[in-house]
């Protein structure tokens, strides 16, 4: 059984989601929101992976395997990212990334 929706639709959707997330990362100044947008980008990647693994019809679900790894990465990323945000917030009551520029060269 095959999908009636062409694969391209899935890929395009994933691209759209990815670049929306990217735009979010680029324009928002709230660290937490930036984290969310990164999650969106990762998820877009997941969609693409699953779709392609479907298209190639690999029986051993290579794409899905990578999706699982992406899940792992996402979990780790959000955990550490939030930890950093909290630690940052503890030292100065802000979560806006552009107010933290001590690393300015």
């Amino acid at each position: 059984m095959t999908t009636l929706v062409p694969l391209g639709a899935f890929i395009a959707l994933s691209a759209a989601l990815f670049f929306i997330g990217m735009a979010g990362v680029l324009v928002r100044r709230n660290a937490v929101v930036i984290l969310m947008c990164v999650e969106l980008m990762l998820n877009a990647a997941n969609l693409a992976l699953v779709a392609f693994s479907r298209r190639l019809g690999l029986i051993d679900e290579r794409g899905s395997v990578f999706v699982v790894f992406v899940f792992v990465i996402a979990a780790a990323e959000v955990a550490v990212g939030l930890a950093i945000v909290l630690a940052l917030y503890r030292n100065r009551p802000t979560v806006d990334v552009d107010e933290v520029r001590e690393m300015k060269g």
Binding site: M22, V25, L26, R29, I34, V97, D98, V100, R101, E102, M103, K104, G105
Partner: protein, 649 residues
């Protein structure tokens, strides 16, 4: 594992690496767990490990014997360094020579570990001791088993390090660590020679593996002899450093500051013989380099007599043994020099037994009396019977009294020196034998006979525990039997048949058929010399005629000269050290002003550049993200270009 042996079933020789690994494991375990948890039990750990590897060592020896003449096998673990055509495998070369050495090392080490359990029992740093002693054994085995000079050098340095650590074991007192430093520095000089030899070997033969170097030496018009001589002399410099030969001998007597088992193991039985082993291993090299051999022989003979004369007048029991060790090593080098490596190795083996025994015996005396000065001892034989008898046997062996071990080996050296055409050297050997017999008699007599000179000391003396005396007995058995079993009949004994293939090279002049008369004559001479020495010693110290004091007074200046060990240390301190100071001062100035100067300038330039670039670092995460995204866009553009054919490769 070499492909040729891939099919063969595994046997003891394939496990040869285990022999070396076990002590290392013991050292690691004790080093990690020793201080907090194991404490006294470190001794047990080390001893068990050594016991196993000793058993394995014996097994390997017998298997090698079983292999007969083609007994030469290389057990490769892995390739350590492979740069261009410079290959250094971590491989064990098992042939009669190394098998003998392995057996001697492991067995003696095992016995000494057992002994140490008793000797070090009450020491605070016992876990340190049992960390470094097995570590030493490991490095020694690496040295012995290495199938190339580089790996051998690893072991060479390792034993140096361990000897440093163990000489300075009681670092609370000043003398030990001063002695340790001295030993280390002098060894460094030797190691420098070794390094030079190694490098030259590689540049000359394009390899550092024994199996590849020696054949190239053998072929007649291979390399020019001067280079060979240089290499050989460089290696010999290393040997003199490690084996305490002239002129680098003076660290060994000071090394007696370490614990007695250390002196016995490192500075009598094993490490100091590394030099001998090196030269014996490189027999092909030395044999090809004619003059080098002569140097070796002369240095050996000179060291032998030189150290023996010093040993005569020492009062510290361990120092007597130390100088005796130096002189015995001199014998071995003499043997090597006159082209009788087998005799050298033979003497090495027997010497390992009886000298270790002598040290352990004196250690047991020290353990009993808390005293090293023989002038305060005396009459101890009633208190320490086992120690006394075992040491008596060992002394006999050292004084080359037939049929004890020392006789056979030493006699062979003298004989080889004579038959190979060095009558003077063999004469020196005989003279040294006399001196040896004299000082060993003196030492034993002053320690064990006569009236106790210090009654308080005498009262408190007591025989050592079994854990210390049993090794004594075993070693005594060794020093009685080793000679006969291995070396009979002379020149044709088992050891010869066994070691023949390992050191056989054409050009080595050890096939000069000795006629029986010469052998017997020489044997008689050396035995006579030994007896004379003993009688003299008994006369002087037994019934005081001539009275030693009178003798020393009579030979005033000579006596003082000997007492002060020919002022060698002073010479070194005043001349060489200042020289070195000046040289290194210059080097230091160069380093500070030129090298560091350049580095600083470079750093300054880098600073300038960075100062310019750092403006890009705005510190705002968003900007970084933006730049990343821009890069992504570029990437997509490029790929899109390829996809649409706008760009093409």
């Amino acid at each position: 594992m070499l492909p040729a042996e891939a099919s063969r079933v595994a046997d003891a020789i394939d496990l040869v690496w285990l022999i070396a690994i076990l002590p290392l494991a013991a050292a690691v375990v004790n080093g990690v767990l020793g201080r907090r948890w194991l404490g006294k039990w470190t001794g047990g750990v080390a001893t068990v490990a050594l016991g196993i590897s000793a058993a394995l060592g014996v097994a390997v020896l017998f298997e090698t014997i079983g292999l007969g003449h083609e007994a030469k096998r290389i057990v490769t673990l892995y390739e350590w360094i492979g740069v261009g055509d410079f290959h250094v495998p971590v491989a064990a070369l098992v042939d009669p020579l190394s098998a003998t050495m392995v057996t001697v090392v492991t067995v003696v080490s095992f016995l000494i570990h057992v002994y140490s359990n008793g000797y070090m029992a009450h020491d605070r740093g016992v876990h340190r001791f049992f960390t470094w002693l097995p570590l030493f054994v490991f490095f020694m085995l690496v040295l012995v088993l290495a199938d190339n000079y580089v790996l051998m050098f690893v072991g060479w340095e390792g034993v140096g390090l361990c000897s440093y650590l163990l000489i300075g074991f009681w670092f609370e007192r000043p003398e030990p660590y001063v002695a340790a430093k001295k030993a280390f520095v002098m060894n460094r000089i030797g190691d420098w020679g070794f390094t030079i030899g190694m490098i030259l070997t590689f540049f000359t033969f394009g390899s550092v593996r024994f199996g590849e170097v020696f054949p190239k030496v053998a072929e007649v018009h291979g390399v020019d002899p001067t280079m060979l001589t240089v290499i050989a002399l460089a290696f010999f410099l290393g040997a003199t450093g490690k084996s305490a030969q002239l002129p680098l001998y003076s660290w060994l007597p000071d090394a007696m500051e370490g614990p007695t088992p250390v002196s016995a193991l490192i500075h009598a039985a094993t490490m100091v013989t590394a030099g001998v082993y090196l030269v014996a291993r490189s027999t092909a090299l030395f044999a090809a380099a004619g003059p080098a051999l002569l140097v070796v022989a002369i240095v050996g003979a000179a060291t032998a007599v030189f150290a023996a004369t010093i040993a005569i007048v020492q009062f510290d029991i361990k120092r007597v043994m130390a100088y005796s060790t130096v002189s015995q090593l001199g014998y071995m080098f003499l043997a090597l020099g006159v082209g009788a490596p087998i005799a050298a190795i033979f003497h090495l083996a027997t010497h390992a037994f009886f000298k270790a025994l002598l040290f352990l015996g004196s250690g047991s005396v020290i353990h009993a009396t808390e005293e090293q000065d023989m002038r305060r001892m005396g009459g101890l034989r009633r208190k320490l019977p086992i120690t006394y008898w075992t040491m008596l046997l060992a002394g006999g062996a050292l004084a080359a009294i037939p049929p004890l071990a020392g006789f056979w080996s030493k006699d062979e050296i003298v004989g080889a020196a004579f038959t190979n055409g060095y009558p003077i050297l063999s004469g020196i050997g005989v003279l040294t034998g006399l001196l040896t017999a004299f000082y060993v008699t003196r030492a034993l007599y002053m320690t064990f006979h006569g009236e106790p000179r210090d009654h308080h000391l005498y009262e408190h003396a007591h025989e050592s525990p079994a854990v210390m005396t049993i090794p004594l007995l075993l070693l005594a058995a060794g020093s009685v039997l080793a000679g006969v079993v291995l070396g009979f009949p002379p020149e044709g004994g088992f050891v010869h048949r066994f070691l023949e293939p390992a050191v056989a090279v054409e050009g080595a002049a050890q096939h000069a058929e000795p006629e029986l008369v010469a052998i017997l004559g020489l044997a008689a001479t050396s035995v006579a010399a030994g007896l004379i020495g003993i009688v003299l010693g008994l006369a002087m110290y037994g019934r005081r005629r001539p009275d030693p004091a009178a003798v020393s007074r009579a030979a005033g200046p000579v006596y003082t000269l000997l007492r002060n060990k020919y002022y060698v240390d002073e010479l070194y301190d005043h001349r060489f050290v200042e020289l070195m100071r000046a040289a290194f001062g210059a080097a230091w100035a160069f380093d500070i002003h030129i090298i560091d100067g350049i580095v600083n300038r470079l750093g300054w330039v880098a600073g300038l550049v960075g100062g310019g670039i750092r403006r890009a670092q705005t510190g705002v995460v968003g900007n970084y993200a933006l730049s990343i995204a821009a890069g992504l866009v570029l990437l997509i553009a490029v790929y899109g270009g390829y996809a649409m054919g706008v760009l093409r490769r």
